[in-house]
């Protein structure tokens, strides 16, 4: 048994033993669980992929004369202004003004909120255009100016939902091509797409949220941030394998960090033809080896993690809850799965390559003593279920 304080002492003295979630299984196989739990202090987990529920609060500072922005656009992408005078929220999936969306199907969605966030972190010059109805204290009615992230007082990423614990494998049973947030799905089960870092993914290494909770320090696109809440749609009370691994979506995390400290390599705008825009993010989360059970959970392998195969032509879109079957991540990573005895080629929307890079970068930061662990101040709910939106004809 170790405590957070003991592990942090070892990190600060540069003596911490840190392995990635990609390395730990072989290490435990070699050394045994008991010896490994004594030796190893921290396991680093990571993921890199599109995460739509992302965005940021920006504070522009005050102009002369002052403006209370009532509508605003950054790079022609609308931002939310229903908060204080020069605070805005920029969301990842917001389209650019004048984007024809799916008017000519499939739309291209070349630039939107996610791309603005990428350009902001990359230090590019961006255009702000804002309107106001004018008040006695905020008389300016319109402003058009140019800025970079360095001009802002704050640029704080606040993501309501990241790090889905597990996710669907999307497939198309219909005879027409589908354009989805899970990519282009060709007709008659010609291809399938998945989106998880599997054995490297944070919540799959801590399936019952024993170390990842509210207050956990995380690596968010290169900056040190933290978990501020359970993520939206967090549903820990899901079906699990006997080993505790959720067999569907399950837990999620709400994350925040200072964008001025982020690295552009780990924050990318993405375009999905026929669907829209989003933001791909790199996230690393350290798991302290407090006891043998926690270490045992981090030894999960791709072959132990099952993902549901869902038909996006009807069952996903109509929200029937039906699945075609389950496959494991080892099968998915082989590039081919079997559906009804037929081979289907598989692609990934989540980058294991980038996730591995992040897990190693975070491990190095911890070994150098630059990243300390934070003990959660509250646990994530373990038994929450996901509720649907009910279409009611009458008020309750």
């Amino acid at each position: 048994m170790k405590t957070y304080e003991q592990i942090n002492d070892r990190i600060e003295s540069g003596k911490a033993v840190v392995l990635t979630a990609d390395e730990i299984m072989d290490y435990v196989d070699k050394k045994g669980l008991e010896a490994a739990a004594k030796e190893v202090d921290v396991i680093t987990t990571a993921t890199f992929g599109p995460m739509c529920s992302s965005g940021c609060f920006l504070n522009f500072g005050h102009s002369k004369p002052r403006i209370r922005m009532s509508e605003a656009w950054v790079q022609d992408v609308m931002v939310y202004t229903g908060i204080a005078a020069v605070d805005v929220y920029l969301g990842a999936t917001q389209l650019r003004h004048g984007d024809p969306a799916n008017m000519y199907h499939p739309g291209e969605f070349r630039y939107g909120g996610g791309h603005v966030i990428e350009d902001l972190v990359a230090g590019k010059t961006l255009q702000l255009f804002a309107l106001s109805y004018g008040t006695d204290c905020y008389p300016l009615r319109e402003i058009r100016t140019y800025f970079t992230i360095h001009d802002l007082n704050q640029a704080i990423m606040v993501n309501p939902r990241n790090c889905y614990q597990n996710y669907n494998v999307a497939i198309n049973n219909s005879s027409q091509t589908l354009y989805t947030y899970m990519g282009i799905l060709e007709p008659n089960q010609k291809n399938a797409n998945y989106c998880s870092a599997g054995q490297l993914s944070p919540l799959l290494n801590d399936p019952y949220y024993e170390t990842i909770g509210v207050g956990t320090r995380v690596w968010l696109a290169g900056a040190q941030g933290h978990v501020y809440s359970e993520g939206t749609q967090h549903a820990g009370g899901c079906e699990r394998t006997p080993g505790g691994v959720p067999t569907g979506g399950a837990g999620t995390l709400a994350l925040t960090a200072d964008m001025k400290r982020m690295k552009k390599e780990f924050i990318r705008g993405v375009s999905f033809p026929g669907y829209g825009v989003s933001l791909a993010l790199g996230i690393g989360i350290p798991i302290p080896v407090l006891n043998e059970q926690i270490l045992k959970y981090t030894c999960v392998r791709d072959r132990d993690i099952l993902a549901p195969v869902v038909d996006y032509s009807s069952d996903y879109s109509q929200n029937t809850g039906k699945i075609i079957g389950r496959v494991n991540y080892e099968q998915l990573r082989s590039g081919e799965i079997k559906i009804d005895g037929k081979s289907v080629r598989v692609g990934s929307l989540s980058s294991y390559y980038k996730a591995l890079e992040i897990a190693n970068l975070l491990a190095d930061e911890i070994r150098r003593g630059d990243f300390l662990l934070a003990k959660p101040i509250a646990a994530l709910p373990k038994d929450a279920k996901m509720k649907p939106l009910v279409k009611r004809k009458q008020p309750l």
Binding site: G183, R268, S271, F272, A280, R333, R345, G347, S348
Partner: protein, 139 residues
């Protein structure tokens, strides 16, 4: 007899050369086998052509010399489809859409996605599907 080899070329036609049947002469006069992957040659505009030519080294060289008598640029390396290494995140999403395996996971441990230009037939599937805009077409 000399060995038959295949070379992939990208030809750029300036406006003044667009109406000449250059490829016809490569077949007829220089005995080359041509396999056109992709072309955009319109009268009154510039044009591009990406093709494989097969023949002996000598035949290919004579053919290229002939093409160069026009104001056509012959490019052996810069192909019609390029992959920006910095924008690529190696997610592997493009891999199943690539019909020839030019884009493939070359290392199963790191899951690095390699792009082998010589295997690319320029179908542009990767340009269409890449969410990061890592693959681009020269024309």
């Amino acid at each position: 007899m000399s060995e038959i080899v295949t070379k992939k070329l990208m030809l750029y036609f300036p406006k003044c050369e667009c109406e000449k049947p250059i490829i016809y002469h490569l077949v007829k006069d220089y005995d080359l086998i041509v396999n056109v992957f992709r072309a955009k040659v319109t009268p009154e505009e510039e044009g591009f052509l990406v093709l494989d030519v097969s023949g002996t080294e000598e035949q290919i060289q004579r053919g290229i010399d002939f093409v160069r008598t026009f104001k056509v640029t012959v490019n052996f390396t810069g192909k019609g489809v390029t992959r920006d290494k910095d924008r690529c995140t190696h997610c592997g999403y493009c891999v199943p859409y690539c019909p020839t395996g030019a884009l493939k996971i070359s290392d199963t441990e790191s899951r690095y996605v390699a792009y082998e230009e010589s295997d690319c037939i320029e179908c542009l599937a990767c340009v269409r599907v890449c969410p990061y805009g890592a693959c681009a077409s020269a024309f």
